[in-house]
């Protein structure tokens, strides 16, 4: 009889059954995943980005495969706040796992409106703010690359979140990720989520045009994992650990070894993204693998792993 491993994690005040979540944009509204696994076995799900008005998304091609990764430019296609609340919230209530809703927008007012409405929903454990979107009012510059804008948006959203923790998802496409992380924490972020995809391009050499209709897309998959692990460790050391803020880490995780790497680097919980496309129940296998790792290493509580890089 093996000793029971405690897989629970206190993430910004939310008790998760285990530290493995499915990442935003890779598990739909979580309802699509239920045909492939018992979602209740997850630590939680992060829904795709919800915007105030419905969004059709970009023309196709929206994805292209690369060596050890893929680019996507979906364009935040989603059914909008109103339909999300009426159609998807009731489904999410039956999942039996923690639900984090990813929030996106084009103006600070959009973010505030979506966050304020979702904060009233009991089933929503917390909000994940996607600040990698272009800011329409400021000529399309991304909210997430400018510390001043980050403070402004988080300050405004935090006021309407009530008791729901606000997780800020950082873009890695910046010169100094600690500067943007620090801005987020100072403005009231309860947790950091990292990393979003890396801006990238694939060119069709026959036509000399980008393959994606959007020209550029976000690179995800195993190709970005070592960079993501480095960035998580850097932000953990420089910002998150001193501030006592947890990190939701991810980027190219395919197996339990990858997930444990992120936790050692400083993540309190991890997200599984692209790997779910290939094997829909990858996250459950990863939970098993983490349990085995803890048993092998004599770790009684998985939370002890976070930030143990020597």
């Amino acid at each position: 009889m093996t000793e029971q491993i405690d897989l629970t994690v206190d993430f910004a005040g939310i008790m998760l059954a285990n530290p493995v979540l499915t990442a935003s944009g890779t598990c739909g509204y979580a309802d699509e995943l239920t045909e492939f696994m018992d979602v209740a076995g997850l630590g939680g799900v992060v829904t795709k980005s919800i915007t105030l008005a419905p969004r059709k998304g970009n023309p196709t091609p929206r994805i292209v495969e690369t060596d050890a990764g893929m680019l996507n430019a979906i364009g935040l296609a989603n059914i909008g706040l109103e339909r999300f609340v009426s159609e998807k919230i009731p489904v999410l209530q039956r999942l039996g796992t923690a639900v984090f809703v990813n929030v996106a927008g084009q103006m600070i007012e959009d973010y505030v409106a979506v966050a304020e409405r979702l904060a009233q929903e009991k089933v929503v454990s917390g909000l994940e703010l996607n600040i990698s979107c272009p800011n329409v009012k400021q000529g399309g510059i991304s909210f997430g690359t400018d510390p001043t804008l980050i403070r402004e948006i988080i300050g405004a959203v935090k006021k309407v979140c009530g008791d729901k923790p606000l997780i800020v998802k950082l873009t890695p496409t910046v010169t100094d990720i600690s500067a943007t992380a620090r801005a987020a924490v100072e403005a009231g972020a309860d947790a950091l989520s990292m990393v979003n995809t890396f801006t990238a391009m694939v060119i069709d050499i026959e036509t000399r045009r980008p393959v994606l209709a959007n020209r550029t897309g976000g690179l995800s998959g195993p190709a970005i994992k070592p960079i993501a692990v480095y960035l998580v460790n850097r932000v953990y050391q420089e910002v998150a650990k001193p501030a006592g803020i947890p990190i939701l880490g991810g980027g190219g995780i395919r197996n339990a070894t990858d997930a444990v790497e992120f936790m050692i680097a400083g993540a309190s919980a991890v997200t599984i993204g692209t790997a779910t496309f290939i094997q829909p129940n990858t996250a459950l296998h990863i939970i098993d693998g983490i349990r085995q790792y803890c048993t092998r290493k004599g770790i009684r509580s998985v939370a002890e792993l976070t930030g143990t890089l020597r």
Partner: protein, 319 residues
């Protein structure tokens, strides 16, 4: 759905390779037998549905077997699963439930299908399926006009066999087109009355005609022009006729226009790059009319399709 667990219509299964044979040029025929649980899910598959195969673990064929045009990119890694339709599905009842055998016709055109060449009897593959919605057969159907373009042929071969088995009263004719004779995934032969026919359809008892853009076999010109010619010379009842088309998008747009010109209903099987095939990634968007004038929306090729009513689709390329 109850307690977070859905009624399952699809899943991740394994299939064992029975055979993997080269048909001609770049075309291969892969025969698989599904595991017992998978067989139950695939028992009622209809033509036009598809599956996703994980090919990431396969190794490259020896260099001498790699086509010259693929050598430069052969070593590129395969990460995502690849979608395939079926050219035939056969269910055999056994004591332990159904046993389903799938036939897939594929074309070697990239790093993933290049690796498929190495599959041999006894190999085991992971697949997700059955996926999407197939062709719909209406009770009023008396004449089925199949239009196959190049690699779009396999699901129509499945449809041809399916109609013979389940709707024997439906008259079926297939028009198979390609740029050139060697781009046809079929064996051609001289028919009794009509000139060149496709052997695979002939075997099923389905009439067929061949068209090539360059005239290297059959009708010279686009396959849709060949069908137009045929429709002009036959008396057809629109309410009893349906066009079923699968092929490159310009050909599907051509089939849609043809159907509109003759007042016929038409189902097109669309194709998009997809990362997952199960509605998660949202990458395989197809623009469709919303019902209201000038309003469109995106549907997903994997979940809402791949078969669509041609009147609803906004084609990205014109015929």
């Amino acid at each position: 759905m109850e307690n977070g667990v859905a009624v399952r219509h699809k899943g991740v299964f394994t299939a064992e390779v029975l055979s993997n044979q080269q048909i001609r040029e770049c075309y291969y025929r892969l025969n698989l037998v599904l595991d017992p649980i998978g067989s139950r899910f695939f028992e009622h598959v209809v033509p036009g549905q598809f599956l996703e195969i994980d090919l990431s673990g396969l190794s490259l064929p020896p260099e001498r077997h790699i086509p010259a045009e693929l050598r430069d990119i052969a070593a590129r890694q395969v990460l995502l699963r690849r979608p395939f339709s079926f050219s035939d599905v056969v269910t055999t009842p056994t004591q332990d439930g159904p046993c389903v055998k799938l036939e897939i016709v594929y074309c070697v055109l990239g790093p993933a299908t290049l690796r498929m060449m190495t599959l041999k009897s006894g190999d085991v593959l992971s697949l997700i399926g059955p996926l999407g919605n197939g062709f719909k057969i209406f009770q009023t159907l008396k004449l089925a006009v199949l239009i196959a373009g190049g690699m779009g042929a396999p699901p129509l071969l499945h449809l041809g066999g399916y109609l013979r088995r389940h709707f024997p009263a439906v008259e079926t004719i297939c028009f198979a087109g390609a740029r050139s004779c060697e781009d046809l995934p079929f064996t051609l032969k001289i028919g009794n009355l009509t000139g060149l026919v496709v052997d695979e359809f002939d075997t099923l008892g389905v009439a067929s005609q061949v068209a090539t853009d360059d005239g290297s076999a059959g009708f010279k010109g686009f396959v849709t022009d060949c069908v137009r010619h045929w429709l002009e010379n036959h008396t057809i009842k629109p309410e009893e006729t349906m066009i079923f088309a699968c092929g490159p998008e310009p050909m599907l747009a051509g089939a849609a226009r043809l159907a509109a010109d003759f007042g016929l209903a038409c189902q097109v099987s669309m194709e998009r790059m997809m990362a997952c095939g199960i509605g998660l990634c949202q990458s395989c968007a197809i623009e469709v009319n919303k019902g209201k004038a000038d309003e469109t929306e995106y549907k997903l090729c994997c979940k809402d399709g791949p078969v669509f009513d041609s009147r609803n689709v906004i084609f990205q390329v014109q015929p």
